[in-house]
Subunit: 456 residues, 2 copies
């Protein structure tokens, strides 16, 4: 569980880069505390905070990393008296120090009252923040970055936005296991089984690699319910199954991939027609990924491509630009085209939009567009998802208030002919390179023919 | 996701019984809040608090149940504006009220300042407790039951100690899925794969039933590490694999079963000899389960049976009673024989030893015995695990301080002949009945021959 030599080298470089940005400003970062499930000792699997993993790659609970303006020191709980009995032999402080590249000391060696100038970042749980607050003598709350902590946040954002070679390596590992999960899902799909059976097969492929899912899987025949974490429907031959499933790498980096495949193994003509509209939009958007491109423009490109396809099919009528600009396309594609991905599936979302949005940029307005999680100019090392989708959401299509904008441009009669589609999304993880981009998840079947072949 | 009619009837009866115990004393119970993983919106799967599930069987986050001395009211968050888009259609308050059998109102309808006499039970997370504290105008901390809350705690303990028919039904469902997991584990075991592969197969069997593991699985060739949640070892033909894996029922009730099987499919003679010693002790202990028996006596019975077997094998020498009484057997069996099981795998451990230990009884002293989580006189409806084990723990056997008690009675030369055993545990879930007991997990292969046959 200790970092490898190549990881150690990356950690050293990341901390050096952070030191240049922080200068003499002290900082304290927590790995966080385990989260109780039923009671204190029955816990969800521990997952350290991403900022801590970025700098120390150590999945230890209750660790504190302290930058005193000169160097980092890692403070860890002292082993308990019975630890060897219950937990077995664990690496000692010396081994950890060697692997991570910083001095390691007992938690009790850290001052209980750090200088008021010390910066920190809130964790997403009150237990950790209560401890940080006690050490710093000030309020530490998730979602409320103190003014003095903005320097630390911005320094980490500036580093984590641009993945180094070690990070890219971990993202590729995540993509590999994510591929295994999707291939297992394709094999496990058949009419008559529950969504839970496919979900289980996909998650098992991840667990068998001794890593965790990067987020709670979505595996559903009701893809039009965007945050669907139920797995109780029985698959019917005419259904499309939407699977949004990604693995974490051993170091905690995320994969995030969506595919939508036919339960029967064959897309119906109407399913394939809409699938190919989404696929064309997704491929066109990926093709545009390169340094200097503004992410919001990719979002709008996906809308235009999707809309062009829907106009060709006769589902939408009118000018593409107007359909997008008036928010008509958002009735069928009501979420953003994607987000940053890294140590978090929505990378650094613990800092709100501070990471996703460049300074001075804010969320656009309107259905769908306001759900866009990112608006930066792409640069080498950034990794983003590209995930357009098409959904027939009753809550939208039955809303007179929402659909008024379409006027007669939404051909409901034509749309009704595609009633065997409820939701389609196609998502890949795309790393921005000097020369353009690398699709990390390219090996996962995506063309309709390739999916049908994989299911045959 | 709503309770069935038969569950509703049980809920009505449980709440009526609780009302008789509470009388006019008001009470407030929280279902709890989702626990963040990486950031607030990326969460571990929500699991409501067990006390709340016991009375309402509703897996909803952010619910508050209020007993005002006359009746219960359930307060739920109002659906969000975009919920139908992101979460799909959800049951309305009327449907929930019908299914649960109490009035349901919006959270905003609950007074923000409840009477000081209102009792509550702390949740295992600070977010929930902060909200309870705000509503009650007093401190609410996990692990520190306020004097005024003892009445509510004891009332719920008195009910939850004795499982009703609906609870027993759920425990049987948990046992069924737990069986599927263990059978999948037996099939997936083979030399050359990692522990993670077997763990994945077992967890997939649980997920495929659309339920969750009741706790983090232990699947390890190092069974001597009692709390082992790593899955990185490669299985070798000569290893025993210890699998402590249980499923939750749809209503949240736990299964908890351990089996120990040979990676090769065949126990070696030494492995089988020790396995049969543990098995004999486990079966003798289960045979003694009936109303009126003191649980601590079952713990000691397991020690005596295990010790008798070890004496027969020549690993321990001397009188059985003295070997147990002097703590020699605890060197090889250093944990308790089991615990309460119900809506929690260690049922009601959120209340410390208050549920496990009858009033006036406290934990025994000494290695192993101090880890006993229960000491009550058994009564019909109680459900307990019976899980003796035998472990060669280096941290114990290499400790002069710990092994001094054995004197010459631990035959290390003979023990060394059993070096292909590191840890064996055999665990079943046993429901106390009027006439004796029912082993809920009896269908899971346990005899050495049955395990070898299942692996063939």
């Amino acid at each position: 569980m200790l970092p490898t030599a190549s990881t150690r080298q990356a950690l050293v470089e990341r901390r050096a880069a952070l030191a240049r940005l922080l200068g003499k400003t002290p900082a304290l970062l927590a790995s966080g505390k385990p989260r109780a499930r039923n009671y204190a000792d029955q816990q969800f699997p521990f997952r350290a905070t991403s900022h801590f993993l970025y700098l120390f790659a150590l999945p230890h609970p209750d660790a504190l990393a302290h930058w005193d303006g000169e160097g980092w020191t890692l403070y860890l709980p002292a082993p308990g008296e019975d630890d060897a009995l219950w937990e077995g032999a664990v690496p000692g402080f010396f081994d950890i120090s060697q692997a991570v590249g910083v001095p390691v000391r007992e938690r009790t060696a850290l001052s209980t009252q750090l200088p008021a100038s010390t910066t920190t970042l809130p964790a997403p749980d009150m237990e950790t923040n209560a401890e940080l607050a006690s050490l710093l003598g000030r309020d530490v709350r998730y979602g409320r970055l103190a003014a003095q902590d903005e320097k630390l946040a911005d320094a980490l954002i500036s580093l984590r936005l641009h993945h180094d070679a070690q990070a890219a390596h971990e993202l590729r590992l995540a993509a590999q296991v994510t591929r295994a999960a999707h291939e297992a899902g394709l094999r496990a799909t058949r009419p008559g089984v529950k969504e839970a059976v496919v979900r289980a097969a996909m998650e098992a492929a991840i667990l068998a690699h001794d890593v965790a899912p990067a987020y709670n899987p979505i595996v559903t025949v009701h893809g039009e319910v965007l945050h669907n974490h139920h797995y109780g429907h029985t698959l019917q031959a005419g259904d499309l199954l939407l699977a949004d499933v990604g693995a974490e790498s051993p170091g905690g980096w995320a994969g995030d991939v969506t595919r939508t495949w036919p339960v029967s193994g064959r897309y119906s003509p109407t399913q394939r027609a809409l699938y190919d509209v989404v696929l064309r939009a997704q491929k066109a958007t990926i093709a545009a990924v390169r340094p200097g491109v503004r992410y919001r423009d990719l979002h709008l490109l996906a809308h235009r491509e999707l809309t062009a396809g829907l106009v060709e099919l006769g589902i939408l009528e009118g000018e593409v630009e107007a359909l997008v600009g008036d928010g008509v396309s958002a009735l069928l594609f009501p979420h953003g085209v994607g987000h940053l991905i890294g140590l978090d599936v929505h990378d650094m979302e613990d800092l709100g939009d501070r990471a996703g949005y460049a300074p001075g940029r804010t969320r656009p307005q309107g259905l769908g567009h306001r759900s866009l999680r990112m608006d930066r100019d792409l640069a080498p090392g950034m990794c983003v998802t590209i995930e357009p989708g098409l959904y027939l959401v009753p809550a939208i299509l039955e809303s007179a208030a929402l659909t008024r904008r379409a006027g007669s441009r939404l051909n409901r009669k034509r749309l009704a002919e595609f009633a065997d589609v409820r939701g389609i999304r196609i998502e890949d993880d795309v790393l921005v390179t000097e020369g353009g981009h690398e699709v990390l998840t390219a090996a996962i079947p995506k063309e309709a023919d390739a999916i049908e072949k994989a299911m045959a």
